[in-house]
């Protein structure tokens, strides 16, 4: 299995600039990312779903995602679902915090700062719950099997700005198909000495299938295309 961020939760905050609740989402997300669950969470800027590439749009399919919104417009939840994948959980500040005295978007009041604490704690709790759930990246949703949250990667949480999930476009039977994580999978196979022609096809396509759905009846065409690209990848690297 490639060394991808297998078990992290994505947090998408609306960051709404015009209201205090938007600032609460931004600061709560940062609190979780930097302090409460730094090893278990990643984030992406909401606009990257439109302004970024396909790798960015794959975000919510790759990670179980918590959408964090300031108001009932739910820009983060709806935007994530429209352009990436349905969030696994959704938190709206106005539904959690029952006060209108949060300060301004620019400067939160003491009540606003307390709201950040409360919302961040709720997000962290939700992260813990999601980490106990197996995420099916083919379906972009939780599968029913429950696993304990063990063996998590211990990497520093970073923003996904500019990185996203690596993708590669491949011609399959004359049609362009976008494969998630393919460059990383190729790299890992090559680094492990599993070169084309060494009977790696079956293992490679099984790994690719973890992240990419293969339509019924097209397994052979997909396998052929992936192996062709892998051979080209290995040749380029030599």
């Amino acid at each position: 299995m490639p060394d991808l961020p297998k078990k992290k939760v994505g947090i998408v905050a609306c960051s709404g600039e015009e209201m205090a609740e938007g600032t609460v989402t931004r600061l709560a997300a940062l609190r979780v990312l930097e302090q409460l669950r730094p090893n278990e969470t990643v984030t992406i800027c909401l606009p990257l779903f439109l302004a970024g590439g396909e790798g960015d749009r794959a975000f919510a399919r790759f990670y179980p995602t918590i959408a964090l919104d300031g108001c009932d417009k739910r820009c983060a939840a709806r935007g994530t679902e429209m352009y990436s994948g349905k969030p696994a959980a959704s938190i709206v500040v106005t539904e959690v915090i029952q006060t209108n005295h949060l300060g301004t978007a620019r400067r939160l009041s003491d009540a606003g700062k307390q709201a950040v604490d409360v919302v961040a704690d709720q997000v962290a709790q939700q992260v813990d719950e999601l980490l106990g759930v197996t995420w099916d990246r083919r379906q972009g949703q939780a599968s029913e099997e429950i696993q304990p949250a063990e063996g998590l990667e211990a990497k520093i949480a970073t923003c996904s700005c500019g990185s996203g999930i690596p993708i590669q476009k491949v011609q399959v039977d004359g049609q362009e198909v976008t494969f998630i994580a393919l460059p990383l999978i190729f790299e890992q196979f090559r680094d492990a000495g599993k070169l084309p022609g060494d009977g790696t096809a079956a293992e490679l396509i099984e790994t690719v299938k973890v992240y990419n759905p293969i339509p019924n009846g097209q397994q052979a065409a997909y396998a052929q295309a992936v192996m062709r690209e892998y051979a080209a990848f290995c040749q380029e690297e030599n």
Binding site: A13, C14, S15, G16, E17, E18, G22, R26, L27, A29, L30, R31, E34, T43, C45, L46, P47, L48, F49, L50, A51, G52, K73, C75, A76, R78, G79, M82, Y83, A105, R106, T158, C159, S160, C161, G162
Partner: protein, 135 residues
């Protein structure tokens, strides 16, 4: 009079995003509250009708925190006219002594950089609105 729309990056991963946000507040709340309007990027992502209409009917100044230029792209995508697009990194290159740090809370350098950014934006706003400030 139609206000100049200010659209900052809502970047959450880098200090430059926070500088963009803070600079936009300095412009719209402190320096030119009467002639500028801040539009949240998240509303444009969602395709909010009012936000799109506001952007489409005015000149926009975008402030981006990284090379992906989400703010500029989103305004264009929303049917708006980007009169000027500023990158925080470019402003920083002009003010190397103001190194920003921190995301949730900017350091002193970051706050001063936001102020410098805002002053550049204000010059552009005044050009667009035809205002000339005499010392």
């Amino acid at each position: 009079m139609t206000k100049v729309v200010i659209v900052p990056c809502s970047g959450i991963g880098k200090s430059y995003g926070t500088v963009a946000r803070e600079g936009a507040y300095v412009v719209t709340e402190d320096l030119r509250p009467g002639t500028t309007q801040l539009i949240p990027l998240s509303l444009l992502v969602l395709g909010d009708e009012q936000a799109r209409a506001d952007v489409a009917s005015a000149q926009a100044i975008t402030i981006d925190g990284c090379k992906l230029a989400c703010a500029t792209k989103m305004v264009a995508e929303s049917g708006g006219t980007v009169a000027h697009d500023l990158a925080v990194l470019d402003v920083y290159r002009r003010h190397r002594d103001l190194k920003p740090a921190g995301i949730a809370e900017l350091n002193e350098g970051g706050q001063q950089l936001a102020q410098a950014l805002a002053e550049e934006v204000v010059t552009l706003v005044d050009e667009l609105t035809g205002e000339v400030k005499h010392a």
